[in-house]
Structures are given as structure tokens and as C-alpha cells.
């Protein structure tokens, strides 16, 4: 469903993502993780067609994004960390506008169902300025899901959500995966990824450090099967010597450099 091969993105001399290849099949949820400046946002932006890759190919639903961006984007829904809404359009008018962009003929039935599902049906006539952050996020979801996307990308989806909103968002992701969509989820919240993702891709300095199912990655980097994704992440990215500590055991003594992040690369996150 999502096929990325040898994706490279350079900003002048600086390479933000280098030779990245991976695939996400229908029903899979891929967690994209990595420290700041690892290239996660750049990767997501290339996948959505917001920025062109320097090299490499991206296929969404079997369609080459560079060759036929319009057809490829019809498969796609992207949810940025901040809901970006039109302040003069009501909730329902956002759906009308989106329907025209994606040519969704039966949008009315789908739109009503989505609003019901997301529990914002009673807000249909309201403007974004009257909505809470969580409601705005739900509206963004409704707009994104209106055309039944097969490829769904989330960038820090839980930012600013309350507990109910977080639960709703996780349920939505699981439901989309069950319905056969391919999801990519970029987040620093490793616990979220552990809960929702079937696969994980760890990036560091624009390079793929590890990729595969959660179990595969865990087996590769952790010393025991109970290791958390956090342990795996630190082990893989080598930012911390902290490795899986068995319950009740003493944590290892940290060297002087522990916790000190390496110097950040030039800004790679446009």
C-alpha cells in the first residue's frame, strides 16, 4: 500500500533522509520514531507530496506519487499535529469543501456518519472558533476520512488532546487498520506507538536504524522479550545506555555522558 524505495531528501549540503526504503501493507500500522532531527517530519512530508524527494520513489496504493500525484493523493489522508481549519467555514461546510476537492459524490451520508461517529454531529453548524482543540482535531479527522483513504499518515496525533480525545484517536487508528488502511504514525510518544503500532521504523540522522514488526525489532535490540519500546528505542539510537532492566533489578550506573544528546544536525525539519 505504501512503498518507499531509496528515498533521499537533501537541503543543500545537508541530507535529512538518506536511502530510506520500507513498505506498509494494508492493515499495518507503522510507527515512525527517532530523536529530533532524525528525518521523521521530512519523510512524512515527502510521503504526502508536500515536498519533493531529492531521489527515490514513493508509491501510494500502487501509484507513483511523482508520476501521478493527483491519483496518488486521492488514496491519502494526512493529519498534521495542529488542526488547520478555515475559520469562516462551519464544520459541515468543511466537509462540503473537502467532498468537492476529492469528488466524493455520496459525501452527505458519509459525512453525517463520520460526524456521528466522532460525536460532533451537534456541532455541524458551528465555526472552528467555537470548537475546543479536541473538537477541531475530530473535524480534521472527519475531513480526512471523508474520501475513505487507503493510506493514512498521522504526525503527532495526540498533541493537545484530553484523555477522552486520546482514547478516541487511538480507536480511530485501530479501526482504520482493521478496515484495511495502511497507517504511518509519527510520534515521540513511544507508549502510544507500542499500543497501536504493528510495525516500527527507527530513524536517526536521516538513516534507518531498524525496521520491522515490533517483535522483530524488540528481539534485535532488547535483551529480553518484555523490554519496552522505550528501551528498544534508546538501545537502537544509542542515545542512552539504558537497556532493558528486569523488574526489581538495579539500574545500570550511567556514564558521565549519559543523557547528553549529541549535537543536533543543521535544522532538517522545515
Amino acid at each position: 500500500m505504501i512503498e518507499v524505495s531509496a528515498l533521499t531528501k537533501c537541503y543543500g549540503e545537508f541530507t535529512a533522509v538518506r536511502d530510506l526504503s520500507f513498505a506498509v501493507r494494508p492493515g499495518e500500522v507503522l510507527g515512525l520514531v527517532g530523536p529530533n532531527g532524525a528525518g521523521k517530519t521530512t519523510t512524512l512530508r515527502c510521503l504526502t507530496g508536500i515536498i519533493p524527494p531529492t531521489r527515490g520513489a514513493i508509491r501510494l496504493g500502487g501509484i507513483d506519487l511523482a508520476a501521478d500525484p493527483v491519483a496518488a493523493k486521492r488514496q491519502l489522508a494526512f493529519f498534521p499535529d495542529e488542526p488547520r481549519l478555515f475559520e469562516h467555514l462551519t464544520v459541515w461546510q468543511h466537509l462540503v469543501f473537502t467532498a468537492r476537492l476529492y469528488q466524493v459524490a455520496d459525501f452527505e451520508a458519509r459525512g453525517h456518519a463520520l460526524l456521528e461517529q466522532l460525536a460532533i454531529a451537534d456541532k455541524a453548524a458551528q465555526l472552528p472558533g467555537e470548537l475546543s482543540r479536541g473538537m477541531k482535531q475530530k473535524l480534521t479527522l472527519a475531513c480526512g476520512l471523508l474520501h475513505a483513504p487507503r493510506v493514512v499518515l498521522f504526525d503527532e496525533p495526540l498533541t493537545g488532546l484530553d484523555p477522552a480525545g486520546i482514547r478516541g484517536m487511538k480507536d480511530t487508528m485501530r479501526r482504520l487498520a482493521r478496515e484495511g488502511a495502511a497507517l504511518i504514525l509519527s510520534s515521540h510518544l513511544l507508549s502510544l506507538l507500542e499500543e497501536v503500532c504493528s510495525h516500527v521504523l527507527i530513524l536517526k540522522n536521516g538513516v534507518k536504524i531498524a525496521g520491522g514488526s515490533l517483535d522483530e525489532v524488540r528481539r534485535r535490540f532488547a535483551e529480553h522479550a518484555d523490554a519496552s519500546l522505550e528501551d528498544v528505542f534508546f538501545k537502537a539510537t544509542d542515545d542512552s545506555p539504558a537497556i532493558a532492566v528486569a523488574p526489581g533489578a538495579e539500574p545500570p550506573v550511567l556514564p558521565a555522558s549519559a543523557g547528553t544528546a549529541p549535537p543536533p544536525p543543521p535544522s532538517a525539519q522545515p
Binding site: F97, R100, L101, P270
Partner: protein, 587 residues
């Protein structure tokens, strides 16, 4: 403590200046600064350096009058100050608040700084803006030949006036807060203020009845007679007494020489010191309201810098849709639909039809008894229409800045570049076209009274109007394409508009763009004009009908312009698709 605050102010100023100078290394700022400086030199400074003395900018009709200008301008200026002072007691309903930045609030409010020191800091800070404004206005006022004095006197005069206004507004806000604490809410305060004003008005009217004869026809015989009667009104008590302190404030500005200035300076300075003491001795809690104000201001500044400032308030009520948007059909229409909703009810087709109907009916009614203002309406409509064709695209820049901030969302839409470009331009073109057509209708009726020969040929005025009207949409589109092209090819230039913060560079950049608009307008019209010669010649020969020829010429020229516009849209669409956000707009 005040030393630290002065340090903060001076250091901030120095750093801001050095930052502005450093950025002149970038061509976009340097070009803007050069053009802006040239403009200032030509229009203001040339006269200082040429040694030819004071420039003469005469207002129409004024030099011929033998009126004692200072004695008329002084009470006029005093009246303006009186109104400003009165409004300071009537209009505001907010709590007393000094405007601080969020950083100032964060550093100064928790610091061991006395409230009075904060007031002093605010006064020092406001002095910088007052000084710059005074110097700038002195450049203008020095060109008014009916004023005496010189640039230095004007600068000092302006400074006194603005300093007094600043202190009075501050003192009044503190006093209002005190009155509020004593239980006098804004409604009752306004009632009292209106009562006082009504008493003053009644006393003035009674006073005038006793001291001055009612105006006769002779007093309206001409501008000079009217001005003399005005002078007599201002000189009559009690109006003269009410305005007396305000006259003291404007007198230094109107001084004709150094000696008169020095005589006027003493009383004005006394007023200033009195106001200062009033302000610094008012011990009013302004912190809470200032905090709220600073947050509001910070949000506004962030919105402006992000290109998202859409006015003082967010929409509170949903707006009616201009038409039903079907889920299938050309995608750019969705942008038009969205844009018209954002434009608001004033731009609904029905509103425009009503406006056009009223204007045309009004003009027709006026034409029954031709008066001088019918041709004036026509000429004005033409002038405003031509100006709007240039000004509209310049105002569109703000919308493009907004588009840049949303580009990462828009780029995910499954649309071709040309569809998005056309969609983004649809609304401004539609609004400009409606506005231009309305003006064209007015101009058609007005111009007929000027150009009688045109009006005498049946159908010619109407054919001319339709012909020109056909040019408007594609021509407007081409004009809007200029800022769009600039945004896509020079995003840093366009984005820079939000960060310039005004100044000579920003003004220079606007002048450069203005020159660009004029150039494109002329370049676009030349092929259209050349191509439209043929149908005029052919139709005149075949039918001998000038209206038909004019109509055909308009249609042909419009078709050429549509072709040019289509090419431009295609070209911009290609550029849009290639536009790499991460390279062009690095954050």
C-alpha cells in the same frame, strides 16, 4: 531601577537598528531601502539640500485668501484636541491598562519594580514613537506654505502635542479606573460626560447668540467670508474659554518664528508638567488589565507575522453560502465558494445586484436635472476603477501570505497546480470584477454628460461599457497573477512583508511592486489592443456600425487577455507543483 529600564529601551533600539542595517546585505531589503530613500529624497529632503529654501505646496485656493491663518488654525487645532480629550473620557470601557510586550510583563511585573517606575518606563518607551512621528510629520507640515515657522519649530510643536495627548490618555485611563473603583461604571461615566458636553454646548450656543449676529447670506458669500465668520465664532466666549488650554498646546506648533515659539513654549510646558504629575501620582492597579492586553497583542502580532491576521475579531456567526456546492465538478469552484463565504455577506451576488440597482437608479434620477456632480460621479468611478485594478492585487498579498502558511495542507489535495492557482485567484477576481462592473455602470451614465458626441451615437455608450467590462475579468486575473508569481518565485520577498515592520525598506518594496503592476498592465494590453484593431476595421467596413465594432473589439481583446491569463495560470501551476516548501520557506 529606571536606569535598567532605560538600558533595556536603548539596547533594544540599538539592536533593532543594527539588525535592520545588517539585513540590507540582502538584495530584497537593499533594493527596497534604495527606492524608499529615493522617494523620500525626491519628495521631502531635496528642498533642504538644494538651498532653495522652503518648498511651496499650496492648497487650492488658499494663497488667494487674506485670512490670518494662525488665528484660525489655532482654535481649529484646539477643537481637535478637545474632541480627542473628550473621547478619552467617553469611549473606553476597558479597565486601565498600559501596553507592555509579553517579555516586559514576564520580566518587569514580578521584578522588584515600583508601579510608578513601570509608568515611567512606559512614558520613556512612548517617547521614542512620539519623536519619530514628530520628525516624520514635520517633514510634511514644513511643506504647508500657509504655516509659519520652520521644520524645527514644527517638529518641537508636534512633539508637544503628541506628548500631551499621550499623557492625557494615560491620565484619563487611570482616572476612569479610579472612578470605577468608586462605583462609577462606564455607562454612568458616559452619561455624566455627555451631560457636561451638553451643558458646554448649550452655554456656547447661548453665548454666541449674545455676542454674535446670526450668519447672513453675506457670511456664506465665499470661502473668505465663511472663514472670517468661523474666526468670530471661535473668538466668542465661552467657546474661547473652553478651548483656551487646548490653544496653549497647539500654539508652539503654529509659531511663525523662534521668538513666538519661545513665548508659546512656557505655557505648553506647564501643561505638560501638570499632566506628567497627574499621571505619575495616580496610583492605580493596571497590572491585570495590562497582562490581558499584552497577551491579546502578542496573539495579534503572531497572526500578522504568520500572515493570518484577518481583522480585529474572529467570525462569530456562520455565513450564508453564496451557492450550493455540488460534490462533483471543477475543483477551483470550491475555492471560490470558500472564498466568498469568507468574504462575507457584503459580497453575495444579491448585495451586488441591489447596490448596482440603487446606483444606476440614483444616477438616472440625477440625470433628469443634470448637475455638475453627475459627470463628477462618472469621472470618479473611472478613476477609482483604474486605481482598484492596481490596488486590489496589492491587497491580495495578505491573502497570499495566508496561503503560504497553509501550503502544507493545500499541497496534499489531489489537484493539479493550475487548479489550485486558479482556485486561489477565483475569489479576488470575482470580487474585483463585480466592483469594476458597478463602477463601469456608474461611469457610463456619468461620462455621457461629458462626452456628448459619444452619447449622441445610439448604443455606443452601452457597447463601450460592455466591451470594457469584458476586459475586466481576464485583466484582473493577470494583475492578481503578479503577486501570485512573486509569492511562488520570491517567497522570501513576499514573506518578508510580514517581518519588515514598516519602514523605508517596506515602502520601497511596495513602490517596486507598484511599478511592476503598471508594467504588466501595459505589457498585457499591447497584444490585446493590436489584435482588436482588425475586427474594428472589418466591422466598420462591413456594417458601418461603431457600437458593433467597439463590442467586437472588446470581445477580441478580452479573448486575447483570457489566452494570456490561461498561459499564466498554466505557468504558475507548473511552478506551484515544483515549489519545494522545505527549500523556499525554511522555518
Amino acid at each position: 531601577m529606571i536606569g535598567a529600564l532605560v538600558y533595556l529601551q536603548l539596547t533594544s533600539l540599538r539592536n533593532a537598528l543594527s539588525q535592520r542595517l545588517r539585513r540590507l546585505r540582502h538584495p530584497r531589503y537593499l533594493a527596497g531601502a534604495i527606492v524608499g530613500a529615493a522617494y523620500f529624497y525626491v519628495f521631502f529632503f531635496r528642498h533642504f539640500f538644494s538651498g532653495r529654501g522652503r518648498p511651496t505646496l499650496h492648497l487650492a485656493g488658499l494663497p488667494a485668501l487674506t485670512v490670518d491663518w494662525p488665528s484660525l488654525l489655532e482654535p481649529l487645532g484646539a477643537s481637535v484636541l478637545f474632541v480627542v480629550a473628550a473621547l478619552a473620557w467617553i469611549l473606553p470601557k476597558d479597565r486601565a491598562a498600559l501596553q507592555f510586550t509579553e517579555a516586559e510583563v514576564a520580566f518587569l511585573f514580578p521584578a522588584p519594580v515600583a508601579r510608578r517606575t513601570l509608568v515611567h518606563f512606559k512614558l520613556i518607551k512612548s517617547q521614542l514613537a512620539i519623536l519619530i512621528t514628530s520628525l516624520f510629520l514635520a517633514l510634511f507640515s514644513n511643506r504647508w506654505s500657509f504655516l509659519g515657522g520652520n521644520a524645527a519649530i514644527h517638529a518641537a510643536g508636534w512633539w508637544l502635542i503628541f506628548s500631551l495627548i499621550n499623557l492625557h490618555l494615560l491620565g484619563a485611563s487611570f482616572a476612569r479606573e479610579r472612578l470605577f473603583d468608586f462605583g462609577l461604571d462606564p455607562a454612568r461615566r458616559r452619561l455624566i460626560a455627555f451631560g457636561v458636553l451638553a451643558l458646554l454646548g448649550a452655554a456656547t450656543w447661548l453665548g454666541l447668540r449674545h455676542t454674535l449676529a446670526p450668519p447672513t447670506d453675506a457670511d456664506f458669500a465665499g470661502p473668505e467670508a465663511m472663514l472670517r465668520y468661523g474666526q468670530a465664532v471661535f473668538a466668542a466666549p465661552p467657546l474661547a474659554w473652553v478651548l483656551w488650554p487646548f490653544r496653549l498646546a497647539v500654539r508652539p506648533f503654529l509659531a511663525t518664528d523662534a521668538s513666538a515659539f519661545l513665548w508659546a513654549l512656557g505655557p505648553a510646558l506647564l501643561l505638560l508638567v501638570g499632566h506628567y504629575l497627574w499621571v505619575v501620582r495616580s496610583d492605580v492597579a493596571f497590572e491585570e488589565a495590562s497582562l490581558a492586553l499584552s497577551q491579546k497583542r502578542a496573539e495579534r502580532v503572531a497572526a500578522i507575522r504568520g500572515g493570518q491576521w484577518r481583522g480585529p475579531a474572529r467570525p462569530t456567526k456562520p455565513r450564508r453560502e453564496p451557492f450550493a456546492l455540488a460534490p462533483r465538478g471543477p475543483a477551483p469552484v470550491a475555492f471560490l465558494w470558500k472564498g466568498l463565504i469568507a468574504a462575507g455577506p457584503l459580497y453575495y451576488p444579491r448585495s451586488w445586484l441591489i447596490a448596482a440597482g440603487v446606483c444606476i437608479a440614483g444616477t438616472l434620477w440625477l440625470r433628469r436635472d443634470p448637475r455638475p456632480f453627475v459627470p463628477v460621479i462618472g469621472a470618479l468611478s473611472l478613476g477609482i476603477g483604474a486605481y482598484a485594478l492596481l490596488l486590489g492585487p496589492m491587497l491580495f498579498r495578505r491573502g497570499l501570505n495566508l496561503m503560504l502558511t497553509r501550503l502544507d495542507v493545500v499541497k496534499t489535495y489531489p489537484l493539479r497546480g493550475w487548479q489550485i492557482v486558479l482556485g486561489e485567484m477565483f475569489t479576488p477576481i470575482a470580487l474585483l470584477t463585480a466592483f469594476e462592473w458597478l463602477l463601469l455602470a456608474l461611469a457610463t451614465f456619468g461620462v455621457q454628460t461629458i462626452f456628448r458626441k459619444i452619447a449622441a451615437i445610439p448604443y455606443l455608450p452601452g457597447a463601450g461599457a460592455v466591451g470594457i467590462g469584458l476586459l475586466v475579468p481576464p485583466l484582473g486575473g493577470l494583475m492578481f497573477a503578479i503577486p501570485f508569481a512573486a509569492t511562488l518565485y520570491f517567497p522570501a520577498w513576499m514573506g518578508a512583508g510580514n517581518k519588515l515592520g514598516g519602514g523605508i525598506e517596506a515602502m520601497g518594496q511596495r513602490l517596486i511592486f507598484f511599478a511592476g503592476y503598471v508594467l504588466v498592465l501595459v505589457t498585457a494590453l499591447i497584444p490585446a489592443a493590436l489584435v482588436s484593431i482588425a475586427p474594428i476595421a472589418i466591422l466598420l467596413k462591413l456594417t458601418d456600425s461603431l457600437p458593433l465594432a467597439v463590442l467586437a473589439a472588446g470581445a477580441t481583446a478580452s479573448a486575447v487577455l483570457v489566452g494570456e491569463f490561461a498561459l499564466v495560470i498554466w505557468w504558475l501551476g507548473r511552478r506551484y507543483e515544483e515549489f519545494d516548501l522545505s527549500v523556499e520557506l525554511p522555518r
